[in-house]
């Protein structure tokens, strides 16, 4: 009676089989399912870290993609302009359902937070005059900056042992963070320079 067979069929363990070298073709995933997964992640994820959750859902729990497919897509989404996690759902949607999948996944991710954040600001405007509310918002903002600094620290650690990368990073911090030069032209100049420096390095690897 302890068997409860079939309970774990969703996980589809397939115990003895080794890791498949070829990425499995995406199984048909309904658009509604894709929407609901993205909607849930958008609604219940706080303060970043959505990519980690997305990995759990898409690769580990539902096996919509292989790990390699997901991780290379994640790298692409971090390199491309755009919010990382919104790029990620565009990538996942494209892989599973083409252009329509991308649209459904993106709308699913954003529709919940869109209305919640507006609801929050409406509440906030009623209590904005209260002194301790101001203090609390300053504290939340400071902690949120700490989250950014941690991401920056992880990236800096990767870049610091390469001179061109460290120089590009430092130039951007000084120009935009300290001198407050306009962001768009600075990036348009420095990004091609940085890629040009990375070119021979990529060839070696």
């Amino acid at each position: 009676m302890g068997q409860a067979s079939g309970e774990s069929s969703v996980a589809n363990e397939g115990g003895p089989s080794a890791a498949d070298p070829l990425p499995a073709p995406p199984r048909p995933v309904s658009l509604l399912r894709l929407f609901l997964v993205c909607f849930q992640i958008g609604l219940f994820s706080f303060g970043g870290g959505l990519s980690g959750w997305m990995y759990q859902e898409v690769v580990v729990r539902r096996r919509w993609m292989s790990e390699d497919e997901f991780l290379s897509g994640l790298a692409l989404c971090q390199v491309m302009p755009g919010i990382n996690v919104s790029n990620l759902v565009v990538y996942i949607g494209q892989r599973l359902h083409g252009a329509l999948g991308s649209c459904v996944a993106l709308v699913g991710l954003l529709v919940g937070p869109f209305f919640i954040v507006i609801g929050l600001v409406l509440v906030y405007e009623r209590v904005a005059g209260v002194a301790w509310v101001q203090a609390a918002m300053d504290g939340v903002a400071a902690a949120a900056i700490g989250l950014l600094m941690f991401v920056g620290y992880k990236g800096a650690r990767r870049s610091l042992h390469k001179v061109p990368a460290a120089a590009v990073m430092a130039a951007i911090i000084v120009a935009i963070g300290l001198l407050q030069w306009p962001l768009v032209p600075v990036v348009l100049v420095l990004a091609p320079v940085s890629v040009a420096f990375a070119w021979p390095r990529a060839g070696d690897a």
Partner: protein, 179 residues
């Protein structure tokens, strides 16, 4: 025509969409400059509040853009600003996703990945600096931000909402202690 708020929002956020390498956090510095200094949609105080609200809400931290649009032109402004920031980069990402899978392992593939990573890192750190400056550069802000970063370094799986709530609580206690 120059005063149309929707066109102004689009003109500000579409370019940001296309240069936001490293994620939404990389354009906070630029968004702050445009919406506070250039267009005067918000005061510095309001920008900090909206930033904190965007971070305390679920979803991507960049929902800040929704709130700026809301401040400028209500619900339709929120929608226009959000779409202006998201649609261009998403279309670009969609096209790249198709090309990407066909060229995995190629040289340009790696060069882009390696070359753009430090750009994204620099932008995120510049954004952190820009917001800290706005926050009045009070010593308490720096301490809480640094402490949150260190705590994450020690326990990467720490839930972000705990850090945000902890920061808010510390500031309230600090304020009460000062009287």
């Amino acid at each position: 025509m120059r005063d149309n708020p929707y066109i102004a929002l689009i003109l500000v956020f579409v370019p940001f969409s296309l240069v936001s390498i490293g994620g939404g956090a990389s354009i906070f510095a630029g968004m702050q400059h445009q919406s506070v200094d250039v267009h005067r949609w918000l005061t510095a105080r309001e920008f900090i509040d909206l930033f904190a609200l965007g971070r305390a809400a679920p979803g991507p931290g960049s929902m800040l853009v929704t709130l700026i649009g809301w401040k400028v032109a209500g619900l339709s402004g929120a929608f226009v600003a959000t779409a202006a920031l998201l649609v261009p980069s998403s279309v670009l990402c969609y096209v790249m996703a198709r090309v990407w899978n066909a060229h995995r392992g190629k040289t340009w593939h790696k060069a882009l990945e390696n070359g753009l990573a430090p750009v994204g890192t620099g932008l995120i750190l510049a954004g952190a600096i820009a917001i800290l400056r706005l926050a009045g550069a009070s010593a308490a802000s720096w301490v809480v931000a640094g402490a949150a970063a260190v705590l994450l370094g020690l326990w990467p799986r720490l839930h972000p909402i705990l850090l945000l709530a902890g920061g808010g609580l510390l500031f309230v206690l600090y304020r009460l202690a000062l009287g």
